[in-house]
């Protein structure tokens, strides 16, 4: 299917993409990421895990907001017809906001910001890679669903995907990572009780 080929409207993938992408998907991705971020700090033995996790949620929110701004601006400038409105080689609708995909881009931004944060993580980083996996899966699923729905061509969703990733990565990089305040770390946390890179033997229980 070419980038400008007509495509019939399909309601089911359109409705599902409202859940996996755009505001619905962003809410799901951000909540899942917040939960995993709290898990990250809990596993690292940090007091006030929910408070620390909000820092990452703020980066998520800014990534999504900036991406929406960029995407809406590009939609107004490019004026591209949606595939469902192609009829006999012409656009039959005044709605010409196909490029880039506004459902896909915010999910790409979430995924990229989560990727940058996970790549810079220390401590139990598997939680953060999990959050990245969820966001990236939602972004890819949304891109496929938007094409299936006839709402976008492949080039629209590819543009949204790439723009979202670029903006999300830049927003995350603007927030330099810093270590948790040692005063907020519980004594006996696994990572501090065991020597770096060595063999650890721990004892626990009531005697």
């Amino acid at each position: 299917m070419g980038p400008d080929a007509p495509h019939a409207y399909n309601r089911t993938p359109d409705r599902v993409s409202d859940v996996t992408g755009a505001y619905g998907g962003a809410a799901i991705g951000m909540l899942a990421g917040l939960g995993l971020e709290i898990g990250y700090f809990e596993a690292a033995g940090v007091r006030g895990a929910a408070v620390y996790a909000q820092r990452t949620a703020l980066v998520d929110l800014e990534s999504v907001l900036f991406t929406r701004g960029v995407v809406d601006g590009l939609k107004r400038l490019t004026g591209r017809c949606r595939p469902r409105y192609f009829v006999d080689g012409a656009c039959v609708s005044e709605v010409r906001d196909a490029f880039p995909s506004g459902h896909t881009a915010p999910m790409g931004a979430l995924a990229a910001s989560r990727l940058v944060i996970a790549a810079q993580s220390s401590g139990p980083w598997e939680y953060r890679w999990g959050a990245f996996g969820i966001s990236e899966t939602l972004a890819i699923a949304t891109a496929v669903l938007r094409v299936k729905a006839g709402m976008h061509s492949w080039s629209d969703v590819a543009g949204g995907f790439l723009i979202g990733h670029a903006v999300g990565a830049l927003v995350a990089l603007a927030h330099p990572m810093q270590a948790v305040d040692p005063a907020d770390r519980r004594e006996g946390a696994a990572s501090s009780a065991i020597g770096r890179g060595g063999f650890g033997l721990t004892w626990s229980g009531a005697f």
Binding site: L58, F66, R76, C81, R82
Partner: protein, 65 residues
Amino acid sequence: MSVACPSAAQDKGAPNHPGYAFGTPAGEALFMIAAGLSNLTSYAPQRSTGWGRTRRTRTIGLRIG
């Protein structure tokens, strides 16, 4: 008693978190405001560029009368 295997016992370092944008609270505030204001682009007028036509159609006819 619990015995930690070498891989589990490997220290992954101190946990970290994203700091303020550009390292300062003011940077974070400005960043958040800019992110919100960027959404004003949705109020810009929609251009119609013609992008998206599969082919350009041209009507060639003969006017009679």
